[in-house]
Amino acid sequence: MPEWFQTFFNYAVIFYSAFLIASYIAMVLLAYKEHKKHRTYHYEKHVIDQMRTSPYTPGVSIVAPAYNEEKTIINNVNSLLSLDYPDYEVVIVNDGSKDDTLKLLIDNFQLVKVPYAYVEKIKTKPVKGVYMTTSDNPVFKRLTVVDKENGGTKADASNAGVNIVSNKYFVCTDVDCIIDKYALYRVAWPTMTSTRKVIAVSASMRMSNGCDVRNGQMIEPKPPHTPIPLFQDLEYARSYLVGKQALSAINAMQNVSGGFGFFDTEIVIKAGGYDGDSFAEDMDMLARMIRYMCDSGEDYRVVQIPEICCWTEGPGNVKVLSRQRTRWGRGLLQFFIVHRDMVFNRTYRQYGMVTLPYILIFEMLAPVIEFLGYISIIWLFLSGGINYHTVWLVFLALYSFAQMLTMIIISFDIYSDNSFKKRSSYRWFMLASLLEPIMYHPLNVFFSLRGYVKHLIGAQMVWGNMTRKGFQQPVPGTEGAEGATEGAEGAAPAEESAAEEISE
């Protein structure tokens, strides 16, 4: 290897790492400011009291696509119908399921096909019918089921749901997500307190693997006790409590999660809805919303709230993780190809000048740089070029920084009252943090690179099935019954998009 290249590479890596660490520190400070502000001004019980009886509380629709979910659909819909909010509806989109999903819904909620005047505001695969209940149960009256032809992606199904929502705001989620009882109050509140138009609100999400869930409600959040979900739980906490919270402070949010995102219906429709061809549809959606707002010269806000509103089931093994991360990697590259004109473009304000350059340099290029790092270490090892006197100290510095960051996240989690019931549960986070750089991170680098390569060679992408365990729920009127139901599958799984990895 020529000497000039070695010198250049050394300095490039040093500056890159120093800049990355500096950005982490800046984000931690910004996030702390945001957490403190939230804690000073936000008093949840007071907010719920005020909103519950007010005629000014905005209506919210929940859009949840479902595909082959017969094993869990009834419990999950019951869970969505039992949220606490004065004015909300639930729109389930049956995306051409091949199993008995629709039949079960019809039987359980006494649904009949209604002649709904469906207007296709966003283009989707044809809608076969809209179903509503004949029951006198006022809770069931909140439910609308849209039956459509399979569109192959979650985006298409979500768009069909958006076409039918009747409220000013909607929450896009997955039918198997566990939503906190008061989640809708939490996400609706920022739209009411801001003087600027809030086009989207993102709430914290965590892994439901290992949690105590009964009647579709989270009884006790617990950290997952299996490696892959545990690493991912830590990753989510880091992303939501530090990364997104910091970017929200400067109105530069990069993404609103596909698992639980709150949007302004009108702006989503004007921006053209979700892109069915995108592998990072949630990130793409927000980019198009921001593009619309900036191009039309309107002021906007995208807000992140620290409270956990949703728990989702993460990949349980390396195979599923590989599929998920490859898709995220591919989605990220695809995103930058599609929205390249927004990068370093002042028209798109903080999003164009801060967010996208940050993701490009520290998110998209990171796997490439890390991969080069691995190769150069191997080469230096073989050629005897490693300075063993200093390498352990550099390693120790980076390792201690990672541990400190984890402890900051735990502190933020406790500070935001999101904490686990048993504080000893955080031992699992610490354990994950110790093992993550060795066990989990290299895997993610490899999967992301595979995603890039697949996109560049134009390989056909299959969404694939994600095996979900689900949460069995008791028959109404009986006690408890919790446990796992094997085999529930979702063809268009609700994994986060590539942008979730930011600031990790």
């Binding site: 804690r39 000073t40 001004y41 008093y43 019980k45 007071h46 009291d49 005020q50 909103m51 009886t53 007010s54 005629p55 000014y56 509380t57 905005p58 209506g59 009949v112 209604v114 002649p115 709904y116 005047a117 469906y118 207007v119 509503m132 209940t133 004949t134 009256k141 609308t144 929502v165 009747s166 409220n167 000013k168 509140w189 739209t191 009411m192 307190t193 801001s194 003087t195 219906t265 200093t390 100290l393 550099v394 120790l396 510095a397 201690s400 920084f401 541990q403 400190m404 402890m407 900051i408 735990i410 502190s411 406790i414 504080r423």
Partner: protein, 397 residues
């Protein structure tokens, strides 16, 4: 060779100097990395200790609340629901609070969540004079007064919210010094407190603020305050004056119109109609139209029809809804709605016109059937949608 044994400060000094000289011998890169690692490790230890301390504090507090809950909650509920007026001494005796007992600040802060829970749960059953005396027995008003003097703004804001949550009638003076505070949230909460408990004219600060930003949060909170004042026969603001005299803030004017509608102030309708005649702003016009419609003010029908030509999409939809709400049976309204249906280019406006026609008596239904017979294949689903009873209650947007 002579050996010296270092003792006390000399011993520490030696090792610190040794560390220092070793450190300055290192290359600058190693020095930076060493400092960085040390900072990380110290921060880590500091955070661990902080979290443990925070955790223990929280556990102790929860345990304390639990103890107080077991001791007082049942008695508080019982006394608060009694309809016979009780003396403060009797309440103190029943609650088992010793005479001249100086309640600790910590205890008072722990009793507050219990009082808020009781108030929230038994809001409608609480006998207010007894409730006030319960609060006095626990020395809640002086505690809040003390919090309001605190330098910590977060504590002050939280105190004001808690006062509202437990309906602790505290003098408006405690918040009046913050009515024009620099911090927006502090200012807003102080004004809300004064608006809730004030006696003379508590909305003065709101009216006089030229830079007022009236958010939906404030709409929610002021509405709840007006409901509270109305229920307790306290003085209400002159809402029509807010509509007329506050051109600085359009949102406040819209709020005032909405409140006139929600409190069903029929007497204000002529003035609202006059405002509608001179109104050019879309949001304000929509609020006026909705208010006049829901208050069923029949003389407004003529203005509604007259307004159509220059109205925006949103206004036209509001006009159709308002005419449906008045439902006077006027044949001219039927003609208007048929015209509206034919002129509209979007499905939502068409649906609104059709829905009003369908529910507008026999004449309306005849017109609906006539339009149905005329409709092409594209418009037919709108009619079947309107006719379906299950879809009747569902909003369409």
């Amino acid at each position: 060779m002579e050996y010296y044994f270092l003792e006390g400060i000399e011993y520490w000094k030696y090792y610190i100097m040794l560390l220092y000289y070793r450190f300055i011998e290192l290359s600058p890169e190693i020095q930076v990395v060493s400092i960085f690692t040390t900072i990380c490790v110290i921060t880590f230890i500091f955070l661990v200790i902080g979290n443990i301390h925070h955790n223990n504090k929280k556990v102790r507090r929860n345990r304390g609340i639990q103890r107080l809950d077991e001791k007082y909650k049942a008695k508080i509920i019982e006394i608060a629901q009694r309809t016979d007026l009780m003396d403060l001494n009797d309440i103190t005796e029943e609650l088992d609070i010793p005479k001249n007992y100086r309640m600790k600040e910590k205890t008072t802060s722990r009793i507050i969540p219990i009082l808020i829970t009781v108030h929230r749960t038994y809001k409608d059953k609480i006998f207010r004079p007894n409730w006030e005396r319960i609060l006095q027995a626990f020395k809640i008003p002086p505690y809040f007064e003390m919090l309001m003097r605190s330098r910590n703004m977060g504590k002050r804001i939280k105190a004001l919210m808690q006062i509202a949550d437990m309906d602790a009638d505290l003098k408006e003076a405690v918040a009046s010094r913050y009515l024009f505070a620099k911090d927006k949230k502090m200012r807003m909460n102080a004004r809300l407190h004064v608006a809730r408990f004030g006696t003379s004219y508590p909305f003065k600060a709101l009216e006089e603020d030229a830079n007022l930003e009236f958010t939906e949060e404030m709409m929610v909170k002021y509405h709840n305050i007006l409901v509270y004042r109305n229920a307790n026969n306290l003085s209400m603001p002159n809402l029509i004056r807010w509509c007329n005299r506050t051109p600085v803030n359009e949102e406040l004017r819209i709020f005032a119109v909405n409140e006139i509608r929600l409190f069903k102030r029929y007497d204000d309708c002529p003035e609202l109609l006059e405002m509608l005649r001179n109104c050019r702003d879309e949001g304000f016009a929509c609020a006026l139209i909705k208010a006049l419609g829901e208050l069923e003010y029949i003389p407004a029908e003529g203005e509604f029809r007259h307004r159509y030509a220059n109205a925006s999409f949103a206004e036209r939809q509001a006009l159709a809804d308002a005419l449906g709400a008045i439902n006077s049976g006027n044949p001219e309204v039927v003609n208007y709605l048929v015209y509206d249906y034919r002129e509209s280019t979007d499905y939502i406006s068409k649906m609104k016109a059709l829905k009003v026609l369908y529910n507008y008596g026999r004449r309306g239904k005849d017109a609906f059937n006539m339009l149905k017979a005329e409709a092409g294949d594209e418009e037919k689903p709108l009619f079947t949608h309107i006719e379906n009873k299950l879809l009747d209650s569902r909003k369409y947007a």
